[in-house]
Amino acid sequence: MKILVCISNVPDTTTKITFTNDNTEFNTSGVQYIVNPYDEIALSRAIELTEGGKGTVTVINVGEAGNDPTIRKALAIGADDAVRVNAAPRDAYFVAKQIAEYAKDKDFNIILTGRESIDYNGNQVAAMVGEFLDIPSVSIIKKLDVDGDTATIEREIEGGKEVLTVSGKFIASCAEGVAEPKIPNMRGIMSARTKPLAVVDAVAIEEVTKVTKYETPAPRGTVKLIPADQTEQLISLLHSEAKVI
């Protein structure tokens, strides 16, 4: 079984988000980058599914050389090899096209991504890759089991879950629950240095979206404190002042 896991290089979750250049660019100064947390979940499940010689896991990232430490982290967690498509990721459409171009003749049985990246929160790449490759895609999955050529998947839906099967090649985006994120051990970290990291060129593709400006949410007012023994006052404020109940 050959599994491809798409990983994104994102600001650490504790990052305070700021912008420069008249709010047209994300301010990267002082920002630590990590493997997107959901992608770690996808990667961990891929490693579990191929453990004991049952297959291989390749990670792919679309990005410039600065992303290599993040890719090495994925190798340290346990991926067998890695590919970087050498281009600044413009948007999900661009990224998905690059991944699909790489994957189209490589015969991966399964492609996994995280449910979304924590920077642009797209939820887009998995389904777009699925469409470019004309294979089924299942978004925001909570569980993935594979038996021969058939996978059984649990997917979240509003107020419940859906269990489905898919046979043959597919791509899925993983949410919490699919696997516990693995922590690299010393051996993993050592071997990550020597695992293959191929760099390939990007293909040209038309631009479809462009972020022109960023905004940060308006600061909230100060909190109105209500004494603990006056819960009826809170209810009345929520009713008549905030008008939410």
Binding site: T13, T14, I17, A92, Y93, A96, I118, D119, Y120, N121, G122, N123, Q124, V125, A126, A127, M128, G130, P136, S137, V138, S139, I140, I153, E156, I157, E158, G159, G160, K161, E162, V163, L164, T165, V166, S167, G168, E176, E206, V208, T209, K210, V211, T212, K213, Y214, E215, P217, R220, G221, V223, K224, A228, D229, T231, E232, I235, L238, A242, V244
Partner: protein
């Protein structure tokens, strides 16, 4: 040129988020001086389809075949894209629901369209077609210009609201070719907790954290939520410890929500938690630690022990309702 909105049904019914998407799509159609068509897939009665007229859909395409009774991402995307082509729709609107998130990107690729997901406002009308969308898990917004001729927008729940706009909806049967290869996924089972309010599109949410000490203490949280008609949520350590299901975990690595009211009980307000909830319209925090960071973003707060405050809050709410 026209606008097409996909209306997602669950067991033959439309939810509030669908009427919201139709209201939003109608406002875009008005902006562009064009008309709005809705497309529904699955078994939905004519009277339910007619409901869409209330929010401004003047035409409703109804696709109902055995193959498409249940949701199949790939096939639904094909049908919606075919409808957009037939209607000459250059803008497709969907709810940014679990299914919408899987569909919108496929439709975007089929139509070679830019996709703005997590949209929170109407597109700009300054000549460029730009959509404000959430980014960095609610820590910021990205104004995203869709530069392609066709455009797809997935609207965040509770971002626009439901707006009535009475029109008489003409219902038309629609068929589109579905390839066998589009039917690659097969649904075996759907489990819906019918008595519970669904978290992503809930208007009111009661959420609790590690301050509750253990899963056995969630009774009062559920009681409060039931009284309000609210959904329940939790912080990450709570779902990690299996006190609550993963589907209730909100935050940067959980679900991002923007209800009208978010009540956070025994949650510290760590940056990763706030990332997914800070766009809630009104935030109430109950925490025994006056220094808890959550109070900095709250509108209303009670400094106190949840085990004393929540039962009193339940009593006060019962009295208010009576």
């Amino acid at each position: 040129m026209s606008v097409l909105v996909y209306v997602e049904q669950a067991e033959g019914k439309f939810k509030k988020s669908v009427f919201e998407a139709v209201s939003y799509a109608k406002a875009i159609a008005d902006q562009q001086s064009t008309n709005l068509t809705a497309i529904s897939i699955g078994d939905v009665t004519d009277s339910e389809l007619k409901e869409l007229g209330k929010y401004g859909a003047s035409k409703v395409l109804n696709v109902s075949t055995d193959q498409l009774k249940t949701f199949v991402n790939q096939a639904y995307a094909s049908v919606i894209a075919a409808a957009a082509e037939k209607e000459g729709a250059d803008i497709v609107v969907l709810s940014n629901s679990f299914s919408g998130k899987g569909l919108a990107p496929r439709i975007a690729v089929k139509l070679k369209a830019g996709l703005a997901d997590g949209a929170v406002e109407l597109p700009s009308t300054d000549g460029k077609f730009s959509v404000k969308k959430t980014a960095f898990s609610g820590k910021a917004f990205a104004i995203t210009e869709l530069t392609s001729a066709n455009k797809v927008i997935a609207l965040n729940p509770n971002a626009f609201g439901v707006k009535e706009n009475a029109t008489d909806a003409a219902i038309e049967a629609f068929t589109a070719d579905v390839k066998q290869s589009d039917l690659g996924t097969v649904i075996k089972e759907i489990v819906r907790a019918t008595d519970k309010v669904s978290l992503p599109d809930a208007e009111l949410v009661v959420s609790a954290g590690r301050g509750l000490k253990g899963p056995e203490n969630w009774g009062m949280i559920e009681e409060l939520a039931a009284l309000l008609g609210a959904a329940t949520a939790c912080s990450k350590p709570v779902s990690d410890a299996d006190w609550r299901p993963h589907s209730e975990h909100v935050g940067q690595t959980g679900i991002a929500i923007s209800p009208n009211l978010y009540i956070a009980i025994g949650i510290s307000g760590a940056i990763q938690h706030l990332a997914g909830v800070s766009s809630s319209k009104v935030i109430v925090v109950i925490n025994k630690d006056p220094e808890a960071p959550f109070f900095k973003v709250a509108d209303y707060g009670i400094v106190g022990d949840a085990f004393e405050v929540v039962p009193k809050l339940i009593e006060a709410l019962k009295a208010h309702k009576a």
